[in-house]
């Protein structure tokens, strides 16, 4: 997933980075095809070049040697709401057929089965980033037809489409899973299967979604990670395998 996520990034993109896989993906992209990527962390570190793998979004290594430090007010007002962010990464406990994301509660809000951390900046990333890339392993539990709570708006939902709501960003344009890639359809924004990892068949993928997953007219088979990418991930960027398992590259 980290390699796939990295390949979604274009050279020169300004990326709003979270910790874990997105951070790995960004650093992989910088080390390969996108040296001009600018990483902005929610914590305010701009153009960070951490000399160790940051374990928190506010790691001091993100500040030392960075290009700028922005206050949280500036991060949210001038960078994110200001339309200066091209790519945001999001994950979540639940992602629905329209790309709405729940990171707030499982069950009802007042009597939750599981109390999740909440939005943090996810809600405004989903609204303002030019493109949102969602990274999450595909499973019926994580990809229900409808989420219990909309923390971050997707392409469509009970409050209407992004166009109707006049949301500035394009929302989740790619969902990178552990078996393939989903994309919102032009027609109604419902996620459909557009690409598969090598050796994965569409039938088995369709069973992993909590709704009847549509398959795009043409489904690409993605090239596997290169040896160079795997080496960078496993030996350089995450040598202690904090964020990647064997399968996970």
């Amino acid at each position: 997933m980290a390699v796939r996520a990295a390949r979604e990034l274009h050279d020169g993109d300004v990326v709003f980075v979270g910790i874990g896989l997105p951070n790995l993906a960004c650093n992989l992209a910088r080390a390969t095809h996108a040296p001009g990527l600018v990483l902005i962390y929610e914590s305010g570190a701009v153009g960070a070049v951490p000399d160790r793998l940051p374990v928190s979004i506010g790691d001091p290594a993100l500040v030392t040697g960075s290009l700028a430090v922005a206050s949280m007010a500036d991060v949210f007002q001038f960078y994110l709401q200001g339309g200066r962010i091209q790519v945001g990464f999001l994950g979540g406990a639940q992602i629905d057929r329209y790309g709405n994301i729940n990171s707030t509660v499982i069950g009802s809000y007042d009597r939750p089965k599981v109390r999740l951390p909440g939005s943090g900046g996810a809600c405004e990333i989903a609204i303002h980033a030019e493109r949102v890339i969602v990274v999450a392993p595909l499973s019926p539990r994580s990809f229900p037809a409808t989420v219990d709570f909309i923390t971050s708006p997707g392409q469509n939902g009970k409050y209407g489409s992004r166009q109707a709501l006049r949301l500035p960003g394009r929302g989740p344009v790619r969902v990178v899973t552990d078996v393939g890639i989903l994309e919102p359809s032009q027609a109604d924004g419902e996620l459909e299967l557009v690409a598969l990892y090598p050796g994965v068949d569409a039938e088995s993928v369709m069973k992993k979604a909590g709704w009847p997953l549509r398959v795009a007219p043409t489904v690409t088979v993605l090239p596997p990670p290169t040896q160079a990418e795997l080496h960078l991930l496993r030996d350089v960027l995450d040598p202690n395998h904090l964020y990647i398992g064997k399968r996970d590259a």
Partner: protein, 306 residues
């Protein structure tokens, strides 16, 4: 300038004088400069019925909640960053284990905006946010206005003016002119929004040190009520240039907070069982302190001449 400052005082006095039962309290700091020392003194002085506000409640509010200080939590992301959950908080919310805890929930931007409004003494702050989400449905304080120019619907949040804000910083003079570098978080807005401000620093410096680099001053002394010198007061959070974040402790907290008895033992040993921050650091031991001490990476100066 006065030769002595009545603002300079020990943590015990600052908490006794400026934090009262029932207060709305903000201890800010985004990963960086979270004032655990002040939280521990609040626990020791057994403050009750506090409304705790913070973007990321973090371990600091998990501890205050576990110790029974909190009535309500105002927040935007409640987890142990990079590790897992805040279990004392989750027990209060999921199992209503006493003391029960009222929640008021925003996104990060929403809470930053509430503090910005408070600092600017505006009753609300406008933001393009929350369209298409369930957040306004569970928080009636998220409202909106119509733009008088474009007719756009713009979300609003109300001002947050805490009774007291506690800011940790690298250094201040004894009048409270406070300098911060590294991540700023929302410390400035939280301080200007508050009725009372306690600044806790790694070092008290001569006024001349502040005056030699005025662009580093984030919080002016005129809004500060108490200045406390408390080295290592942000541990297990960090202070850029002084000590690193204690990531091991954040990992350890997962097991401590998951088990109520273990959490109680931890509070007994590290909070109730010590008199002050020096006692806490003694309990923590010199090895950890040594390992976390920052290595030097000194910036160059700039010319303020004319």
């Amino acid at each position: 300038m006065p030769p002595t400052s009545p603002k300079l005082m020990p943590m015990r006095d600052a908490i006794a004088r400026f934090v009262h039962d029932g207060d709305t309290v903000v201890i800010e700091g985004f990963t960086h400069l979270i004032c655990f020392a002040a939280a521990h003194e609040i626990i020791r002085q057994r403050r009750r019925d506090l409304t705790l506000c913070r973007l990321t409640p973090d371990l600091v509010y998990d501890q205050l909640i576990a110790a029974g200080c909190a009535r309500k939590l105002v927040f935007s992301w409640a987890g142990n960053p990079g590790v897992g959950s805040l279990h004392a908080l989750r027990r209060a919310v999921e199992k209503h284990q006493p003391p029960s805890l009222e929640l008021e929930e925003y996104s990060h931007f929403g809470l930053v905006a509430r503090l910005s409004a408070g600092a600017a003494k505006l009753p609300f702050w406008p933001l393009r946010d929350y369209q298409g989400t369930d957040l306004p449905a569970v928080n009636p304080l998220i409202r909106g206005v119509t733009c008088p120019y474009t007719g756009d619907a713009i979300a609003t949040v109300p001002a947050l003016n805490p009774d007291v804000t506690i800011v940790h910083a690298q250094r201040a003079d004894r009048d409270g002119n406070t300098q911060i570098w590294g991540l700023y978080g929302v410390q400035k807005e939280a301080a200007f929004a508050a009725k009372r401000v306690i600044v806790v620093v790694e070092e008290i410096v001569q006024e001349q040190v502040v005056r030699a680099d005025p662009n580093r001053t984030l919080i002016p002394g005129i809004i500060v009520d108490a200045v406390v010198c408390e080295p290592w007061g942000a541990h297990p959070s960090y202070a850029q240039g002084y000590y690193d974040r204690d990531n091991d402790f954040y990992v350890e907290w997962e097991d401590i907070s998951r088990d109520e008895a273990a959490l109680k033992r931890w509070l007994d040993a590290f909070v109730y069982g010590v008199a002050d921050r020096a006692g806490y650091m003694h309990e923590l031991g010199p090895e950890r302190q040594q390992r976390l001490t920052a290595k030097p990476q000194i910036s160059a100066g700039v010319n303020y001449g004319f």
